[in-house]
Symmetry: D2
């Protein structure tokens, strides 16, 4: 991992700013022969696209992806795939006010402190718009995974908004696509809708927790000590804008368990080990067990809000700021497809890494 | 980051198994001219060393570090520093029982599934013993930081054991070194002592939450988009054995805040910005603000316990296992110096990375 | 270095095929605040551009570069710079014949053997057209170097075409820009012109040797053992299409010298060491001495020639091939700006790397 | 590649100085299940070991390798393999004279200029002694290659000493092990012996050219654009101490060929393509063809000679130097096993990289 690149063998470098001519992902190391076209990637971008309902920013971006390289006659060639998305609805004038002021809770001030120059238009490089590039790369990763391990299924959903968590006893995979919050709990979705309507009207915002599950991942992916599957997942999720925490399996609650309670007991199932539980979130010692990989991450509330906050200017004067623009009352909603994309990139990367070092999975049980 | 290496410019590769002849860290990219000798590194190793009180494993390891390269006349030369620790108290016979059985919740099964071969003695490469190498590398990182930014202070402590958290109103830096749990709350330390005594007698174990704070870190460290300071910290902490969750600032609780509550308002202080609060944990947009860097991570309970658990053998037969050996009832205790070491490595790495790309910090305020 | 990326901190990833919609370079890690616009990069691209005289391919490409990211108000921001060049004159029909046959001496066969899929149009990814991306990245590197070390001057020129080398006693820097071969020897340029006219008419091609010199490079750049300045230069030059050999200073002829003859004796000059000679090519132990950095590389003749050669088809039948298309009789000519670009990228990268690890140059003499 | 590390997946980091307690190689990413023990690595170290005949330095080093990690019951486990060699015959007193003077043609001056500190004992990190670590890593790489592709054979030999090249019509593989110069031409070996005896007596030294051939390498190894097989070989060989030039196939002479002469025509042989010649040195477009991989490199003469040379001191005074110590009159001799080791590391690395990205070789011909 290096500044703007991510991954060991399936290596994604994103580039571009919120209000520049375009942004995109340079994807190196994709296996050759993967069937892909722009519509297959567009499918995933459309899920992240803003302006689809009243709960996300009203910026209207087509988010139309173009494949500029690495694909020939509908298949990857093994050379870098350049995925470009042109910016069409920049409306830079909205952002004049933040040119010289720093929004509290936003990267405005740190970009300035680090670089001494800052593309303030729409947050520049620090805009959540960057995540469109990740979703595009993730779309390609999904197709490559499909070719290698067709049983893998990656699904993200929201499990908490503000203080309100889903009720796991009502968990229903089918609900996820049926509401604007990717909630697996229809009742929670209804509660969140009301809550968010109020919040949006008051110009405020709120955080959320997203869970991403990868089912059907073979055992043996990951590597000691710093190339652990959970290490790379933690990095992947924490690198998403506004994320402040990452959990695998039990996550922070693992602190509360005893060793007796935490042990996922092992039995023999058909074709391999079977576990009594999945506190581990599908990863032991940084290597996948074959159980579901379960990752959660918390997204903080957008700092661009209508409430007046105290801040300073670039020249050091104390002042106040209100961010008008077009923002997401709960940016966590659009983080769901982003989390899925990062999961896909990490899983594919580790499939290639495992195949590179070890070849065919070697340790048989039974 | 790559399998057993960590860091961009200050690059640490750890090697070695629990019961092999030795383990250590190969540290590449250390600045030249840093004053260092073995005793300065030993100081930090001694804090992590097992067998110091009844709350940690009774394995007796001197954990004596030797500097084999990269240091000349008491200063680093800029070439790789090899830090080696010989294993002296292996007692392999203790581990005969786990040769063919997999401990639930342990990497035994995944190492086997991945590699088809496994050094089962004491957990081999997956043993927490590997973290001694990290502490040694962290000791070197601390001295390099001291030379570059003498104000930086890195301190770890335990904030929760099992269900019992510290009371932040009793937080006292001076307490941290005064009890065996690195607890900043003397009362919590007493409660934990009783709790852990009972747990140890029953052969059980428990998880914990560790917090590591870096004070005095200059603004501007970190980089978009995958080289974010919090991304690298998340990876660093998640790579530690038994860690299941990582948080920056508010962490998972950020989900519960509104944008209004979450905004750390900015004022002008002496010599730079001053903030009303630190929900961000000292990092915005992946770049340090100059506030305290605050990281927390959860350590799951050791899976090596005296309670009988169901498991399978390598040949796929269902059986039971009890792990006798010498283990930590709360491995989180010894994770404190490890977390500090990882923080030191990440901070130093980003100091060098920033200096490399940007040079002198350029964006002045006021 | 990794597949399609090059550099440690100033990291260039090139992408794109000869006949795809576009190609370019994703440049990560550029220092912020570097003054740059498209015309400053275009300047260097125009030197490499085909069709400028009768000695290079008649393909007409505008090679117009667009900066898509990382630059704001005429300065780099420290975020990735995307440099895109659209392909405009593909004429794919020219290449129909090579769809199923492999050109001897060309990457046609190995791309097929490796990937099982091949963009045969114009050589796809293996086309020398890829080097336009490098020249663009090199143009940016030059401006960054100018900001850091204004005295550095990087100049490439041709020193041999076929069997005919320049006469070093006639070496004249001013001649380099005055003839189509970048020859520092006017008489050699005239001889080459006649020779190449004949060769071009017969549909044949020929190899060449290019020398690239960097003057004014500070002492201390480079690093042991694999990050040596000469190691990275060797990799950089060898990675250019058709290059088969790389030399530093005396190069292969160093084999013929005795230790006595090879030693560049050292004296004190104004402001630092002065050397009696430069057999070392400005690099000792992988680190720059402050003398001129001197690199040479040999470019083999284009394999796309009008002469009939024996080959096989994809289905394994023996056949013959003649490559009509539009090709360079001496591709070495256009390799001159490419070699300069690679030198610029390597020098800048090592400036940043040195600044990162060591900071201010520390070892003073005298 | 990064400072002291080399390789993408099979990643070697060497460490240690000439006169420190030990040196070695940390090898990460080795496939699991490779049969290995210390004697198998010692075999290759013994070939490089000094003091074996009167043509190499009389320093007496046992060069005894110890495997400290990553191997269990005679097989690699997939975790890092630490290979350590203790220094036993340092005799530091020999080097007192070079403490404050810089040997012309040696890294003394550049290490000082870069780092401001220098382990002057025996050249410290810049000593050719470092190459023992490479030979050890190469020994492991050979065994891993044997497990993956038993037909691969890697052989190095000297083809030129000073101005005297071998006669290729007398080339005899059997001769290589039969003389102290690894010469495939018995007559050349005799001439060199006389020549070197004279040179050694006069305290002078001389350069050499080494050729390393890898036979039986499968087609398809390598990758565009910077991960080319020849790019990595050029870097690998140029990173060896004292190397000033690297050639693949025709090398620098490729400049003299026409396209007609240079084309290796292709025919169908048994089981695959067959070529009329091998000007390409087994690599086209950076990817192996299945022909012999042929690399040559030039080693400059040792700068540690008995002849008095002009130099300066650290404080900038002009003076003279004579290097007494124990040195190699032709350090190229001992570079033969080093070149073989680097070839083995590169080939294995690209086998793993290819397997990772592409899996089974996919492009069939015929």
């Amino acid at each position: 991992m290096s500044i703007n690149s991510f991954g060991h063998l399936f290596r994604v470098t994103t580039w571009g700013e919120s209000h520049g001519p375009a942004l995109g992902a340079t994807v190196d190391g994709c296996p050759p022969g993967v069937e892909i076209d722009e519509s297959m990637i567009q499918h995933w971008l459309d899920r992240r696209r803003p302006g689809q309902n009243r709960y996300t920013t009203q910026r209207r971006e087509a988010d139309q992806v173009r494949i500029l390289s690495g694909v020939f006659e509908g298949h990857t060639t093994g050379t870098p795939v350049q995925l470009m998305i042109e910016n069409t609805d920049q409306r830079s004038k909205d952002y004049g006010d933040i040119k010289d002021k720093f929004r509290p809770g936003h990267a405005d001030i740190t970009y300035w402190q680090k670089y001494g120059i800052r593309d303030y238009r729409g947050g520049g490089r620090s805009s959540a718009r960057e995540t469109a590039s990740r979703v595009a790369a993730g779309g390609l990763a999904r197709e490559a995974i499909r070719a290698l391990a067709p049983d893998v299924q990656i699904t993200g959903y929201m499990v908490q908004m503000g203080a309100q968590a889903i009720d796991r006893t009502r968990f229903d995979w089918a609900q996820i696509e049926a509401n604007p919050f990717w909630a697996p709990d229809a009742e929670a979705a209804r509660t969140w809708a009301d809550y968010l309507d109020d919040l949006r009207k008051s110009g405020n915002s709120v955080g959320a927790i997203i869970e991403v599950v990868a089912r059907g991942v073979p055992a043996g992916l990951g590597a000691p000590v710093y190339g652990k599957l959970d290490t790379d997942l933690a990095a992947a999720m924490m690198s998403i804008n506004a994320v402040k925490g990452v959990e695998i399996g039990e996550g922070m609650s693992a602190a509360m368990l005893t060793g007796e309670a935490n042990a996922d007991e092992i039995f023999m199932g058909q074709g391999g080990p079977r576990y009594s539980s999945n506190h581990a979130g599908g990863i032991l010692g940084g290597i996948s067990t074959g159980q579901d990989i379960v990752v959660r991450f918390a997204v903080k509330p957008t700092s661009s809000i209508l409430t007046t906050r105290k801040t300073i200017t670039r020249t050091g004067e104390e002042t106040e700021i209100v961010t008008r623009g077009r923002h997401d009352p709960c940016v966590g909603i659009r983080a769901v497809p982003v989390g899925e994309a990062m999961m896909a990139c990490v899983i594919l990367d580790h499939m290639l890494l495992h195949r590179g070092q070890v070849g065919e999975n070697r340790g048989k049980i039974g």
